[in-house]
Amino acid sequence: MKVLILSGYGINCEDETLHAFIKVGFKGKIVHINDLIKSPKQLQNYQVFAIPGGFSFGDDTGSGNAMAKKIKNNLFDYIQNFLEKDKLVLGICNGCQILVNLGVVPGLTKKDPQVALIENNSDIYQCRWVNLKINNNHTPWLKNIDYLHLPIAHQEGKFIIPKDVINEIKNKNLISMQYANDNGKLANIKFPYNPNGSELDIAGLISKDGKVLAMMPHPERAFYYYHQPNWQELNKKNEYADGYKIFRNARNYFK
């Protein structure tokens, strides 16, 4: 099992994302986007392609937009080829924005983005922990998970979706995670449970076949027990926190 983690131009979460994959049993490598463009065939050697969080290209022209264009212009065929095989793709935060801009999620058509991520309702950057209701298990990434407590950190995390696309996304069950309140019920756009005003409280989407997960929250920042807020107060100390489950699921899929 091997994971390729993308880096470069302001992506800044590659180390901890790789660490999370390695800890659950993957082998992996951080590859700069330019190196990947230079020898794109190396992608074939990996089972998982992950785009971590950060500020690629300074978020100029919209978060994830420039990096998505760079991928589209140089690597898109290879990514498509990768997706056609029995492989998994993960986009976290900026990686989620990139996948959305690539149109890979929800992946209803083969080109162009079908949904968009725009500025938070608060107009400012938000860094806080959120409750997530996990809706479907038809992606290997979220198998056997009902609920997650993870941190978010973004300024452009509000999903907006055209009406016809919403219906299709709902019908195909592509909304993978939604912001919830402390009782596990949907946040209903209520701040701070829904930190950005995202439509239908969407925090993450999957592709039609479930192989691609694009999520705004950071599972790699909630990997060990001590990543959780107030972990010192917890009676039962597991070694891992909620984010671990996502990486574990990827390992289990290939095992």
Binding site: E16, K23, Y125, C127, P151, R221, P229, N230, E233
Partner: protein, 361 residues
């Protein structure tokens, strides 16, 4: 300024101080920057279930190493013009103390200076600068905490004209910000600010009549008083004992006393844990209730310990100044007992004041 009249009760005073800009939570700052970046934040800016804005945080930058790095800072510009030497001493002492309280190894603490001065071509200001620098030398050498870097800006002055076209000059008060960085050897040395049910609450360190330029004095009249003085020898001794006790995981919680004195520190701990406190204010050193609760004397730490650890606690802190002041209870109110009187309010109300918005933001 308000009179200290019986009508302006202790609880109202606490609410007044708690909702003032220096004390209220800075949660809006914590939520606006990526304090989780690179997944290393383990003691976060917002602490406890009540989300108290902590004065010290910790990161764990290496996954396979048990060490963590703790960061804090301190500045007391309000003391500068009264006594720049004491001002600098307080900044260094508090920045170092915060790390000790978080669980840092005292031998592995370093500090940074950030001088923001004004009118540095004037004799008086240069004298203040010299006194502050002397304190930097004295305390850093005494504590063995090296200054590893720093910066300064010497002319924080505005010269212009007012509405009536008269020339004016506005200067900042001389300010020394000390930042501190320290290594916590083991993750289980890290302390938290939240006491647990049935814990006994102690104050470590001496409380003096030091209300001058305090948060209390911002609003209420005080009798003859002083600004805080740092006794480096006693402080060092206290910090070393604290470190020793903390390595035995003696404390269920600990928080350095900062602006607002013991009173505000206790309320933060209570909000953080959402557990009540029953506080019995001692009659010691001829301090009245306001002096005891709001004096900003340096080198004090509020700690909570389990009842069955009191003996070993007393052993470790033998011949130092410590005072038992109450217990942590599973109710939702804070009660201050003084003489035969009781003053109390709910955590919810205190929390509301603590989380009030700063005007203009």
């Amino acid at each position: 300024m308000f009179d200290i009249s019986p009508e302006y009760s202790l609880i109202n005073k606490i609410h007044k101080i708690l909702s003032s800009p220096n004390i209220v939570t800075k949660e809006f700052v914590a939520n606006q920057y990526d304090h989780e970046v690179q997944g290393s934040s383990i003691i976060k800016p917002l602490q406890g279930v009540g989300k108290v804005f902590g004065n010290t945080t910790a990161i764990k930058p290496l996954y396979d190493d048990n060490k963590t790095i703790s960061l804090s800072q301190s500045a007391f510009p309000q003391y500068s013009e009264a006594d720049p030497y004491k001002m600098a001493a307080c900044s260094i002492n508090t920045a170092v103390k915060n790390l000790v309280v978080m669980g840092a190894n005292f031998k592995k603490i370093a500090i940074l200076d950030n001088f923001c001065w004004c009118s540095s071509d004037e004799e008086g200001r240069l004298y203040e600068l010299r006194k502050a620098a002397e304190a930097c030398y004295d305390y850093a050498v005494h504590y063995n905490t090296p200054f590893i870097s720093g910066k300064d800006s010497m002319y924080n002055d505005f010269k212009g004209f007012n509405q009536k076209n008269n020339p004016i000059k506005i200067s900042i008060p001389p300010t020394l910000l000390i930042s501190s960085i320290g290594i916590v050897d083991k993750i289980n040395h890290l302390t938290k600010i939240t006491p647990e049910k049935n814990d006994v609450i102690y104050v470590l360190g001496e409380t003096h009549n030091e209300l001058d330029k305090s948060q209390y004095e911002n609003f209420f009249r005080v009798k003859k008083t002083n600004i805080p003085k740092v006794n480096a020898t006693k402080s060092l001794d206290l910090y070393k004992r604290f470190e020793k006790a903390n390595k035995k995981n003696l404390f269920t919680s600990a928080l350095g006393v900062d602006l607002g004195g013991i009173g505000i520190t206790l309320i933060k701990m209570s909000i953080g844990s959402n557990l009540g406190l029953n506080i019995i204010i001692p009659k010691k050193n001829n301090l009245d209730i306001n002096q005891f609760l709001f004096s900003e004397s340096q080198s004090r730490i509020v700690v909570s310990i389990r009842k069955n650890k009191e003996n070993i606690f007393k052993k470790i802190f033998k011949n130092t100044s410590f005072t038992k002041i109450g217990t942590c209870l599973d109710n939702k109110k804070i009660v201050f007992n003084y003489s035969s009187k009781k003053y109390s309010d709910t955590i919810e109300n205190f929390s509301k004041s603590y989380k009030s918005k700063i005007k203009g933001l």
